[in-house]
């Protein structure tokens, strides 16, 4: 009776239990056709195993360093999660989408020029911005809105309900400022969660915030149909897609 190649494949994989494996192997080796199949499977397997030797050496080399970088990532993600600014603010979305820095920068530029095109001559706003900067108390955190006159045109409505401390408010004010030199002077960013009504508002926020390093968008579980448009290489799915 002819031995099926499928059975020989199982034999090579060590999936034929004892004592049948020994008996089957003896039968295979005695049959020239079956033996030829068996040997070709074993040969392919040995080449794959040889390839695996190189990989094993690399795994041994990298294992500890990789674990170190993994723990570092976990620690940094924990630190950013534990920041007080995020606490107590209701989230509009519950999924996670991370936008890498190049995408955020590109979006900033696109929106910046887009808004300039829509609003008109950007120099017309400069006096108002400068005036606001010369009068720091002009940006007052009222508990429900940010009232910097220069920023108000773009950000007044979407920041309603944002509860932040005085320090965070000062940093946020700098982030939203049109003054590039002041933005670059700010230290490590704070983690601010803003209850935005739509993506347009998010993009508006980006336009004034070149210091934002990473944006996390929480998407509600109810929003089942979520589709990413644009360059897929620039977007990366998070824990809940």
């Amino acid at each position: 009776m002819e031995i099926k190649p499928e059975l020989i494949s199982s034999l090579v994989d060590g999936e034929v239990p004892s004592p049948w494996n020994e008996k089957l192997l003896a039968r295979v080796l005695a049959d020239p056709k079956a033996r030829s199949i068996y040997e070709s499977y074993m040969k392919a397997r040995s080449i794959m195993a040889a390839d695996d030797e190189q990989l094993s050496a690399r795994i041994a080399d990298r294992k500890e360093a990789f674990y170190g970088s993994l723990v570092k990532s976990i620690e940094s993600s924990e630190l950013s999660r534990g920041r007080p600014a995020s606490a107590g603010i209701s989230r509009l979305w519950s999924g996670v989408l991370r936008i890498p820095v190049p995408a955020a920068i590109a979006a900033t530029f696109v929106i910046f020029f887009g808004v300039i095109g829509l609003v008109g001559d950007p120099t017309a706003q400069q006096p108002a911005t400068m005036a606001a900067q010369s009068q720091p108390p002009a940006l007052v955190q009222t508990g429900s809105a940010v009232s910097n006159p220069a920023v108000q045109t773009l950000y007044s409505t979407q920041l309603e309900g944002l509860q932040i401390t005085a320090d965070q408010e000062a940093l946020l004010r700098r982030l939203l400022s049109a003054d590039e030199s002041r933005q670059r002077q700010t230290g490590p960013g704070i983690d601010v969660t803003v209850n935005l009504a739509d993506v347009d508002q998010l993009l508006q926020l980006l336009q004034g915030a070149s210091q934002i390093r990473e944006i996390t968008i929480d998407i509600p579980a109810s929003a089942a149909a979520f589709e990413i448009f644009g360059e897929p290489a620039l977007s990366r799915a998070g824990g809940s897609e």
């Binding site: 994989d13 794959m48 695996d52 990298r62 993994l70 976990i74 290489a233």
Partner: protein, 175 residues
């Protein structure tokens, strides 16, 4: 770190057991060590965030293998899309051919296997890679992929046949 000592120890145990497996499997699926590391990193971070939900080491192993396998498959799909887009725009050839003189016979064989693996249909390749490089049994593979043992057996066989067919086309002498 905000995790408990038990969780930290569990994470380390799971890492020690599973990392060599998932990096092998994903490196074979993606054909890139760098991509494999990226995929494993993502999978392990996801696992960290689910430590409370997956307290059992065996479950964690299966979960991590399944997730990293899916991430690796997503990675190659994305790469294929990107390559097609570049080819359309730049009209570049599909693959750069490396001269046989630059490779030793052994390296050539390894490259042939790697190239052949890339051409095997995904469902067969995943099973074959898990078997050959992950060292898993048919039952374990079946549990991870949601297949019966019989189905895994058939896929392993067909994957191996396909691999041999492709290797023979490339001049590989099976005997």
């Amino acid at each position: 770190m905000s995790w408990s000592r038990e969780q930290e120890e569990l994470f380390r145990r799971v890492y020690d057991e599973v990392f060599p497996i998932i990096v092998r499997v994903t490196a074979r699926i993606t054909s890139s060590w760098e991509a494999a590391e990226e995929v494993c990193h993502e999978a392990l971070i996801r696992y960290y965030h689910r430590l409370d939900q997956i307290p059992d080491q065996a479950q964690a192993k299966y979960w991590l293998i399944r997730v990293s396998k899916n991430l690796a498959l997503n990675y190659i799909k994305r790469k294929k899309r990107e390559r097609k887009a570049y080819e359309r725009v730049l009209r570049e050839p599909q693959r750069e051919q490396v001269s046989g003189e630059t490779l030793s016979i052994r390296e050539e064989s390894l490259k042939e296997v790697k190239d052949a693996l890339e051409q095997i249909p995904e469902k067969y390749r995943t099973v074959l890679v898990m078997k050959e490089y992950g060292g898993m049994s048919y039952k374990e593979i079946g549990d991870i992929l949601g297949l019966s043992e019989g189905n895994v057996k058939v896929r392993a066989f067909r994957g191996r046949e396909k691999l041999l067919e492709l290797l023979k086309d490339g001049g590989f002498d099976g005997n």
